[in-house]
């Protein structure tokens, strides 16, 4: 009985996931690196695509992904106008490391702190790295979990097609 319930639930949400096409960014209060309040509903890029990437200072693949994108980020901006928002899910233990790390490696991304994983939960993220692509109208058009070197090329293909729309 219980197992059937699980199965029904899984079927329900999978089919709901397939039908409900529209997905946007929920409104969650986060912090900037200066400690100011920032509402995620304010994430926008003047009609250009936005990448939202969930990461943490203790997550090696996350840092590798963002460092590899950083090498090409200027070209990406020139060609598509894309913006990357890197959302750290570091908790109080490691959140103080975010600003030093970001400065050391010289990322030009917008950085937000999600110290108690509120935004992570609201976006349905389980593990980092998890990357979303938002089109110019604010719809989530692509998401990807985990990172292997080379994944950024596929992401960039998606960015380019989102930029054309």
């Amino acid at each position: 009985m219980k197992n059937k319930l699980v199965l029904a639930l899984v079927t329900l949400c999978l089919s709901a996931g397939a039908f409900a096409q529209k997905k946007t960014i929920p409104s969650v209060k986060l912090e900037t690196l200066d400690g100011k309040a920032f509402n995620t509903s304010a994430i926008n890029n003047n009609g250009n695509p936005t990448i939202i990437s969930f990461w943490a200072t203790w997550c090696k693949p996350c840092k590798e992904e963002l460092n590899n994108i950083a090498d090409e980020y200027e070209d990406w901006i020139d060609e598509t106008g894309v913006k990357l928002v890197a959302v750290s899910i570091d908790d109080q233990r490691s959140a103080t490391r975010v600003k030093p790390y970001v400065n050391s490696v010289g990322w030009e991304y917008d950085i937000l702190l999600d110290k108690n994983s509120d935004f992570k939960r609201a976006m349905g993220v389980q593990n980092v790295p998890h990357t979303f692509l938002i089109d110019g109208s604010g719809n989530i058009v692509y998401q990807h979990n985990s990172y292997s070197p080379g994944d950024e090329d596929k992401l960039y293909e998606k960015v380019k097609s989102a930029a054309k729309k």
Binding site: A20, N116, Q126
Partner: protein
């Protein structure tokens, strides 16, 4: 939801009907266990375990609601034993607008740095102290943020959520001074002289209620904590601090003494492009705060005491001697310096070299015991006096010095070298066990070297090799570890890990723990199969650790987000 969605399919083209959005995820882990006497492998009676979670989150305009369906059939080994069965473990509904938002049901929340209040979930560790009650958040004026919470806390799971008996109530206020000044002056922040200076102050009050169920002691039923905090940013410099006080709170953690508690957390960072410094200090004295005074481990914690040590990701460094905050109290300091030798410099080469050094140390408190018979009715029953709030006592609990050199040699090849030096007081930390699963006594000194090489070829293929070596005269002796990982973007990954305890004093225990993984990823779906021996060790997330027994067998995992 199905019928609603069907409706949208039929009418979607003609009219725009807002049916809301569904987000969520599914995670399933199946483990099958085998006997293996060489590693004392644990096998549950059921021989296999299934741990699964499904989160569904519905949002439409200002309304949102969500559930999590959980299954522990039974929970995987090493998971807290109070997770059993299948059912709803989390549900909430909320109404959110800018000036006010209200949540009923389960929620996670943090006040300030969490010293007096933090409810959170760490699914992989089996930690979930979600509130179950009500929360109100309001933003009445620019720069002013208020929160109120009231409810019980999740304790265990038996075919559904089971809350603890204690009641938790709290209030938090925060003032972002710049936002308020901006709104008063009507100008944008960029045009004002205090632009570079940013000040935030805040305060919290949290109280718990639990009835006095003792026949021998008169226990306080309502216990209050207060905290004040501030954060200052001026250009490259940031400083933050929080201080918290708790009235006497006799509990299992402190041996039922009637002493009050203090805690403080300080952080300083200086960060400029290519160079940063971080300094942290923490002290906690009798500051474990739970909604049930007899709870243990990570159960029913109301607050969060971050471990001021770096969380490592290399296997031996992450799982053999990691540190978790001690509930009775500690004094901890941490420093980290990071420098990037610039790109295109003589030493830095084309891509630069990133250097990071970190030092963390934790001591017990400097205390004097009060000499009195605590069973005497006239005794203060305060236990001890803390002589120096911010200075360490004699006993060292933990120390970690580590540094890392990371260099990218070309577009396709990078190498990292990391060194660790650990001091681990196992009488205090009790995370190290011998060949017979008995706790080890005394201090453990260990050094670890790690070389991590990564080579990419034909754009989508990547091979990564990790070589690790741990040397210690104590505990299980020396270890050597090799990890080989091959990924083929965007879909495939294969990994092979061998941890070899070649320095074990018992020759039969010089075992190779070999574990292989194959996985497939597509967008936000991930499936993997793993097989082999897994070493006993500490599994930690965010400075909170749980002991995982050695096991041998097959693991299947599937995760997806939608």
């Amino acid at each position: 939801m199905l019928s609603l969605a069907g409706f949208s399919q039929q009418n979607g083209d003609k009219r725009q009907i807002d049916l809301g959005e569904i987000k969520g995820n599914i995670s399933v882990a199946y483990q099958q266990y085998q006997e293996d006497s060489t590693i004392n492998a644990a096998v549950p009676d059921e021989k296999s375990t299934l741990t699964a979670f499904t989160n569904l989150l519905y949002t439409r305009g200002n309304i949102s609601a969500g559930i999590r369906y959980e299954s522990y059939l039974p929970a995987q080994l090493g998971y807290p034993d109070r997770f059993d069965g299948t059912g709803l473990g989390y549900r909430f509904a909320s109404y959110n607008t800018d000036p006010i938002s209200v949540t009923v049901g389960n929620f996670y929340e943090q006040f300030g740095s969490g010293l007096v209040f933090r409810t959170y979930e760490e699914r992989l560790l089996g930690i979930d102290n979600a509130m179950d009650g009500m929360r109100v958040k309001t933003h009445p004026l620019p720069g002013i943020y208020l929160k109120g919470i009231y409810g019980k806390q999740r304790f265990q799971f038996t075919d559904g959520l089971v809350n603890g008996s204690g009641l938790v109530r709290g209030f938090d206020g925060e003032l972002v001074v710049n936002e308020l000044l901006d709104s008063l002056s009507g100008k944008s922040i960029d045009s004002l002289p205090y632009r570079k200076l940013n000040l935030i102050v805040g305060g919290s009050f949290v109280s718990k209620y639990q009835s006095d169920n003792s026949t021998t002691l008169i226990l306080p039923e309502n216990v209050g904590t207060y905290a004040g905090r501030m954060r200052l940013n001026y250009g490259k410099v940031s400083f933050s601090g929080e201080y918290a006080y708790k009235i006497n709170d006799p509990s299992g953690d402190n041996g039922f003494v009637y002493k009050d508690g203090h805690a403080a957390l300080l952080n300083f960072t200086f960060a400029t492009k290519g160079f940063s410094v971080l300094l942290d200090a923490k002290t906690t004295d009798n500051f474990s705060f739970r909604s049930d005074r007899t709870a243990e481990l990570q159960d029913l914690m109301i607050n969060f005491s971050p471990a001021l040590t770096k969380q490592h990701s290399y296997n031996l460094a992450a799982t053999l001697y990691p540190y978790g905050s001690r509930p009775w109290g500690e004094v901890a300091y941490q420093a980290e310096i990071s420098y990037k030798i610039p790109k295109k410099s003589k030493l830095g080469g084309k891509y630069g070299i990133l250097l990071t050094a970190n030092f963390a140390t934790v001591f017990g408190l400097d205390t004097t015991n009060i000499n009195e018979d605590i069973d005497d009715i006239t005794s203060t029953r305060e236990g001890y006096v803390n002589n120096n709030f911010f200075l360490p006592g004699k006993e060292k609990y933990f120390q970690d010095f580590n540094f890392e050199i990371k260099k990218k040699f070309s577009k396709t090849f990078r190498a990292t070298y990391t060194y660790f030096n650990f001091f681990y007081n196992n009488d205090v930390n009790q995370g190290a066990f011998d060949n017979d699963n008995k706790g080890v006594h005394g201090n453990i000194l260990a050094q670890i070297h790690v070389i991590d090489l990564s080579q990419r070829f034909k754009k989508k293929h990547n091979i990564r090799l990790e070589l690790q070596h741990l040397s210690t005269e104590q505990h299980l002796g020396n270890w050597a570890t090799a990890l080989l990982e091959y990924t083929y973007s965007p879909h495939w990954f294969v990994g092979l890990l061998d941890q070899y305890n070649y320095g074990n004093s018992v020759s039969e225990k010089r075992v190779h723990y070999v574990y292989g993984t194959v996985g497939f990823v597509k967008d936000a779906h991930r499936f993997s199969v793993g097989y082999g021996k897994q070493r006993a060790g500490l599994f930690c997330v965010g400075g909170v650790c749980r002991q995982v027994p050695a096991s041998n067998g097959l693991t299947l995992t599937f995760t997806t987000s939608f």
